[in-house]
């Protein structure tokens, strides 16, 4: 399926569209006053997980789109891959950042607890997200190979 340029392009778009905004929100990438990538030693693992999640999302989501379009299969697996991507995306979004500030200012302490949860459990949430994406990749790849043989 990745021999088709349209799916490679889609994967590339998903990878870039996930990695850049999430790196900005997680404060690994700064665009003002200069374009700077800054990954401190304490957060290297978190950044590596972010890159891995973006990569896995870029692989798994086009695979599921292919499965739905070409093989006319159910949308359950793409639901799993989107869920994995979203968990990975929301984990680690800094509660000190503009999203955290606007949410806490609007919704108060409960929202503060929720955003703090996303910040403090960044690594476990990203690991869970990566695990979910790997599982979806495995089941999708298996499903595609079986269904393609039958057809």
């Amino acid at each position: 399926m990745f021999s088709s340029y349209s799916y490679v392009l889609l994967a590339g778009i998903i990878f870039v569209c996930m990695l850049i905004p999430l790196s900005i929100l997680s404060e690994f990438l700064f665009i003002e006053p200069f374009f700077v990538i800054h990954v401190i030693e304490d957060r290297t693992f978190g950044f590596t997980l972010l890159v891995a999640i973006s990569f896995m999302s870029a692989v798994v989501i086009p695979m599921n789109i292919y499965r739905i379009r070409t093989l006319q299969k159910s949308t359950t697996k793409i639901g799993g891959s989107l869920l994995g991507s979203i968990i990975g995306a929301s984990a680690g979004i800094c509660s000190c950042g503009p999203i955290g500030f606007s949410i806490i200012s609007t919704f108060g302490t409960v929202a503060g607890t929720a955003t703090a949860f996303l910040t403090n459990y960044e690594i476990p949430l990203r690991l869970a997200s990566l695990g979910l994406l790997c599982l979806v990749y495995y089941t999708t790849a298996k499903s595609i190979s079986i269904e393609c043989k039958i057809q």
Partner: protein, 223 residues
């Protein structure tokens, strides 16, 4: 059929969450863009902020808007601040002023008040350092509760009766609130946010725990 409806509902929910999250961020960016990054003159009121760290006559003023429970502020404190102090504050080129933006929880407010109670005893920056050294865990998890604030004061050999009286009377509640309002007035929407002010009043604003190189380049361009 039911399964398809559940999947469709899940998609719909996820899309709404993503749209809500990013639109919130987008609008905050738009609002930030309305506040120009370079202002012709400084209108920031620093009278309620911290005492200046460095020479009062330094041509550059670095204003840090921060929260003692903010993780990014912790990272900035431990990765960038000391080099900035060595190269710009101790050399008399810049001074640093900390302005509280305590939004992450109730302990952020009391920690900020405690820092001004420490200032009464001439130990503001020591107490500030203590708070960022011992920041540990989620906001309001107890690392900055009243007992810990007292123990920090005790460790710094402060007069505990005076410190307790200051905290019990909420003497600096209004000052901390004024700092919060000043931050919001200046379009600050995250911590840490920095405003660099030159001697002619020109300001540059940027947010996040950015590396030393960004500060050096910005300050050098304003000297």
């Amino acid at each position: 059929m039911n399964r398809n409806i559940i999947v469709a509902a899940a998609f719909f929910g996820i899309v709404i969450i993503v749209i809500a999250g990013f639109s919130s961020y987008y609008f905050s960016l738009l609002e930030a863009q309305n506040m120009p990054m370079i202002k012709p003159t400084s209108m920031i009121n620093l009278e309620n902020g911290s005492p200046a760290l460095g020479s009062e006559s330094a041509p550059i003023t670095i204003v840090e808007f921060g929260d003692y429970q903010c993780e990014s502020c912790y990272y900035w404190f431990h990765n960038t601040r000391s080099t900035l102090i060595d190269n710009y504050i101790e050399t008399g080129k810049a001074k640093l002023v900390f302005v509280d933006l305590p939004f992450l929880g109730r302990d952020s407010i009391t920690a900020a008040q405690a820092s001004y109670c420490a200032e009464d005893q001439g130990k503001y920056w020591e107490y500030h350092t203590m708070l960022y050294t011992f920041q540990d865990g989620a906001p309001d998890s107890g690392w900055a509760n009243q007992d810990r604030l007292n123990s920090f004061a005790f460790t710094l050999e402060m007069n505990m009766d005076e410190f307790n009286d200051c905290m019990d009377s909420s003497k600096y509640k209004i000052r901390v609130k004024a700092n919060y309002n000043e931050a919001v007035k200046n379009g600050v929407q995250s911590t840490p946010t920095f405003i660099i002010i030159s001697s002619d009043g020109t300001t540059k604003k940027f947010a996040g725990a950015q590396p030393y190189s960004v500060f050096a380049a910005t300050i050098e361009s304003m000297l």
